[in-house]
């Protein structure tokens, strides 16, 4: 039952958990960001990487460790509640893992189609905001336009970026983004359900916090996975290409 892969999974999970604890218990796990809470976390990244490289179970265990660390370390009442600090964190690595497993074999054309679906969803959301009138019968005009413009800009930017990338890198980025969003959405969702935040405040934090965290997570996860799996273009040093001369 215990082959090399089994041992490797246990050991890698342990080391990813060690990085999580290191990031969570020192200040390096926090990156200053222009949001009310002041920091974007990168301590959830080992959970995402665990999910990507070792599978959903390892993602879940590292996420559990992250949740437990953030519970022990919490300095705001919200995170001293295990339902907010631990429970949502279990899913970070799991959603990232399944996104990666589902899209791993995707071609560029399929990823483009996915972008099209995303654009359609954004436009649909904008239309819904416009179509449902407010309580006094007026309609929102600015917000749907804003959503649509931002959505088109986002999808356009992603399209250009995807065009120049190895599709495997794009899938890794997508999985990282999904894992990071899982963290943001579930933590804030549970926090507002438990009454620590009103839904409006939660939405505000979600937008100002979730977006920088997604970007940071995608950048770091791509770098790590590319380094470990050797995908993407890597600049090789010219010096090391020449075999050393033996004297």
């Amino acid at each position: 039952m215990y082959d090399e892969r089994g041992i490797r999974r246990v050991v890698n999970a342990g080391l990813l958990l060690a990085i999580t604890l290191l990031l969570a218990f020192t200040r390096i796990g926090f990156i200053p960001a222009p949001t009310p809470a002041g920091n974007a976390t990168i301590a959830h990244i080992p959970a995402i990487i665990g999910g990507l490289l070792e599978g959903p179970l390892v993602g879940l265990i590292v996420g559990l460790g992250f949740g437990f660390a953030s519970f022990l370390q919490a300095t705001v009442p919200m995170f001293k509640d295990p339902l907010v600090a631990v429970l949502p964190r279990l899913f970070i690595g799991v959603t990232a893992a399944y996104t990666y497993l589902g899209l791993r074999k995707a071609t560029k054309a399929q990823l483009r189609a996915l972008l099209g679906v995303l654009l359609a969803l954004v436009l649909f959301a904008a239309w819904r905001v416009y179509a449902v009138p407010n309580e006094d019968g007026s309609r929102e005009a600015l917000v749907p336009v804003l959503i649509a413009v931002l959505g088109i800009a986002l999808v356009g930017g992603l399209y250009v970026w995807l065009d120049r990338q190895d599709p495997r890198i794009a899938v890794v980025a997508l999985a990282a983004a999904v894992g990071s969003l899982t963290n943001t959405v579930l933590v804030l969702g549970v926090a507002s359900m438990r009454g620590y935040l009103s839904p409006g405040v939660a939405l505000g934090i979600g937008i100002t916090h979730g977006i920088p965290e997604v970007i940071v997570a995608a950048v770091i996860v791509i770098a790590v996975v590319a380094a470990l799996r050797g995908i993407g273009q890597r600049k090789r040093s010219r010096v090391s290409q020449e075999p050393p001369e033996l004297v």
Partner: protein, 283 residues
């Protein structure tokens, strides 16, 4: 250079030996008691219940003879956050949806303070204090070794369900062992970068990409190093014929004493009382 030396000294709740009864309890007892008391603290919503629980927990902290100032030390940097968040909560808590019967105390346009929002804030603060004490109660009286040992024992029933109880405890042990090692590695990376004129200072909040690449510069080599170390450890474990938790015996076996039974029954009584009080108020 002082900032480079901080990484090595990571403590997840420093163990403080005072030789009290709580220190001598079996780690399994402490873990179960911890989980039960956390559950109590989280489900209590009334003033009386929260105060009573906090009193019980405080009594337990005093019984361990841990210096109270040390336990409360973690609170100081958080104080401004707590005050601001509590005020926001007080002013914008959506009482109408959660508790429609609450009385309105102050009503200034968008800011309404009701009895429900006051209760939510006060109970959240009491809960926070209680959980802070509880965390300290567990981690300051138990060594990490005893803790993982206890976790492994408690997770043992999971293996009957086919879940990896032993592996989870092993993962926790490896993680705790490697935190200081990776911390040193992180220091080495920072120093190596500093010697090549990479400034380690944090940039401003608006230069997000800059800060992110700064974070990446430290974290990416750390991951690569962790994977290299993991290969070495895998090889070492294979060389020693590691085959999982089955049939494994331990040098130090855990034994439950009478004090464990006493502590557990006290905690269980508190837990049942909490459940009953909640059930009665609901009914």
């Amino acid at each position: 250079m002082g900032s480079y030396h901080a990484l090595r000294h990571v403590s997840i709740g420093q163990y403080i030996p005072t030789g009290s009864v709580a220190h001598r309890l079996d780690p399994r007892t402490k873990l179960v008691a911890f989980v039960l008391l956390v559950a109590c603290t989280v489900i209590t919503k009334s003033y009386v219940g929260s105060l009573a629980l906090l009193g019980i927990i405080l009594a337990a902290v005093l019984a361990t003879r841990l210096p109270l100032g040390y336990v409360l030390r973690g609170l100081r940097p958080a104080l401004p956050f707590i005050v601001v968040l509590s005020l926001l909560q007080l002013a914008f808590y959506n009482s109408a949806a959660v508790a429609p019967e609450a009385k309105v105390m102050v009503d200034w346009g968008p800011v309404t303070i009701t009895t429900a929002s006051v209760q939510a804030v006060v109970v959240a603060l009491l809960r926070f204090l209680g959980l802070l004490f509880l965390t300290s109660l567990l981690t300051n009286t138990t060594t990490t070794g005893a803790l993982t040992h206890g976790i492994e024992h408690l997770l043992r029933p999971l293996t009957w369900l086919g879940l990896p109880g032993h592996e989870m405890a092993l993962i926790a042990t490896i993680a705790l062992r490697f935190v200081p090692i990776l911390g040193e590695e992180g220091e080495a990376i920072l120093m190596a970068q500093a010697s090549r004129a990479v400034t380690p200072e944090r940039s401003g909040a608006w230069r997000l990409i800059d800060s992110a690449s700064r974070g990446a510069r430290l974290v990416v080599p750390l991951f690569v190093d962790a994977y290299r170390r993991s290969e070495e450890l895998v090889l070492a474990m294979q060389a020693r014929c590691y085959h999982g938790g089955r049939g494994r015996t331990q040098l130090h076996t855990l034994r439950l004493a009478r004090r464990d039974a006493t502590a557990l029954s006290l905690v269980l009584a508190v837990f049942i009382a909490t459940l009953l009080s909640r059930w009665i108020t609901v009914a």
